[in-house]
Symmetry: none
Subunit: 198 residues, 4 copies
């Protein structure tokens, strides 16, 4: 059982180092040697923990996604008001993205990199996340719009909160909380039901 712990800790250390390398150079540009150097483990040694580079990327993504999703579900348990739910989503997402910026950059930027079963698995998690957010947004607006519009709004929302990996720097752009407030202020009025334009 101590063995188990040691194994997991090393595996986690590899994931952590890999996330840093992937984040900095991008998945394709990063080499297993880079990860080896970053983690201090030998090149061949890493193959004891992961079957290859792709599995490492997959594991990084799955690990992060799980954290985001699990934490979000936990936070949502005690929330009823749909606007507060949305705010919870925004805060949860932004906090994770800003605290684990390297991992999240990998999650966002290398979304299309995986293929096969790895891809399917991650896509499934993404669908979960999307559904959860979509259902909240539906609550906010009611049956006021059709499915396509619903989808467009939800994905516009995701664009806002995902794109930050390309520009957000706390010392310049304020705290994650401030960022969340800015975005909520756009959404509160922007998404709420209103007469069609024109």
């Amino acid at each position: 059982m101590d063995q188990m712990k040691k194994h997991d800790e090393k595996a986690y250390a590899i994931l952590s180092g890999a996330a840093r390398v992937f984040s900095e150079k991008g998945y394709h540009h990063a080499s297993m040697r880079d990860i080896s150097r970053e983690t201090g483990m030998s090149l061949a040694g890493m193959y004891h923990y992961f079957s290859g580079k792709e599995e490492i990327l997959f594991s990084v993504q799955r690990f992060c996604f799980r954290q985001v999703l699990d934490e979000l579900r936990k936070r949502l348990e005690s929330v009823d008001d749909p606007w507060q739910k949305l705010e919870t989503v925004v805060r949860n997402h932004l906090e994770f993205f800003t605290e684990n910026v390297t991992e999240m950059r990998v999650l966002s930027h290398e979304a299309d990199t995986l293929v096969g079963d790895y891809r399917t698995h991650i896509d499934e998690m993404k669908r979960e996340y999307f559904s959860l957010v979509a259902s909240i947004i539906r609550e906010l607006r009611g049956q006021d719009w059709n499915d396509a519009e619903q989808r467009r709004v939800t994905l516009s929302f995701f664009g806002m909160i995902n794109w930050i990996y390309t520009w957000y720097r706390p010392e310049r752009d304020g705290s994650p909380q401030e960022l969340a407030e800015t975005m909520m202020s756009i959404l509160e009025r922007g998404i709420a039901p209103h007469r069609p334009r024109g």
Copy 2:
């Protein structure tokens, strides 16, 4: 002069093929051989038109960005109302993204790939684009907010319109015009001046 034309046409054909390859496989995963195959030109032949792979990526990005910027400036000439200006930005951006999906994917996804002078050059264009949009958004809201908030809003806006390269498919998500309307409906109310939250 005819020579010139022929040269430019071939160069453009390379860029066009390269954009397709980059879009599909990502810059690092795409090989010069892939581009050679896609364009029908020999591997060595491409080096008559571009000094290397990196210059090709740079040229793709510059070419697209120029089109977006030039067209946008032209369209804005005849617009005065700031809301209509914003709508012009959205429409222009989305139309380009949806009509030149491969090139735009390269522009969005490989933003961090270039380095050195190439990077500086593209960053400069980005700054121009950003400034232009930021000034429009400032008009909309007045001095109602500080610089950081202004910046956060502007970049949230860019998140919305840039992220679409990851999800937008016209047959499912409606025409670019519908997409523009959806986004404008969010922004019209979301960005307009309003009392601070709380």
Copy 3:
């Protein structure tokens, strides 16, 4: 056309060097770097002529087999007597094996190494060779035996003439012609029709 020649000559030089290396170390133990060293061509350079190690082995085998088969067919054209035909087979086979000992060792020893289409192609040539010899042996003996016996005799014959790659050394074991005579002397009486044993 001179180009064509040059290309083929280099390709042949690679095959020749590869055959030496394969013969000495065995296919799996031989590295592309070994072949590179033996031929004086750079590691990457060889990939202009062959798609990989396996194709090199395939090409060596196909090249040798073709020579053996083509030469055999040519020699057989002017022969009618079945015993003389068999002698022609033996002489042709042994001469090739002893003159191109390295290539033939590769042909014999790495018969099972290839897989997929490469394997199919070589197996097809083998079947041709086998059929040709089998039909000659059938002539010698008439309908005196059944298919299984026919097959056993033919393959016993091939055992005799193929196995020499493991032991034959001209300075100790005599000329290929002497070897051919020894084998023919066994076969002339051993294969000819005779009363069943017991």
Copy 4:
């Protein structure tokens, strides 16, 4: 003593598994991990019984050769007639080859793989086997031929009986007994003294 037994049993299990793997993939292509998987013993565990991969191959070959040689000597004890002796050799050899097809394939195909002392040891056994058979064949023919011819005939004989590992399949080619009869029918007349050709 019980310890001893257990040790030997495990060692034998490793040899048995290794023979299967070597036979299927060839020695060089087979990895210690393959053998570990096949035998169910851990990778490191195997190093308690054998000093390395090469010793495993050596042990497989020695074990098989011993069986063939010991059994042959036993069978020959009660035989006087040289033709019956030869038949005993053929039967013994073919029965072993067909009953232990994987081990024998390793013995035949990986004959040149070993080096150094291992090679010397196996070569010594081979020489014993060769001498034994050569002396029988000499009996059959008397002083009718010179040493080189004697050697050529003996090794042609070995070619016949060794090569079967490349083609023999009982369901298609008949029982080992039938095979032995076919070969003996060739040899009985082919080897017997006869007037020189021409």
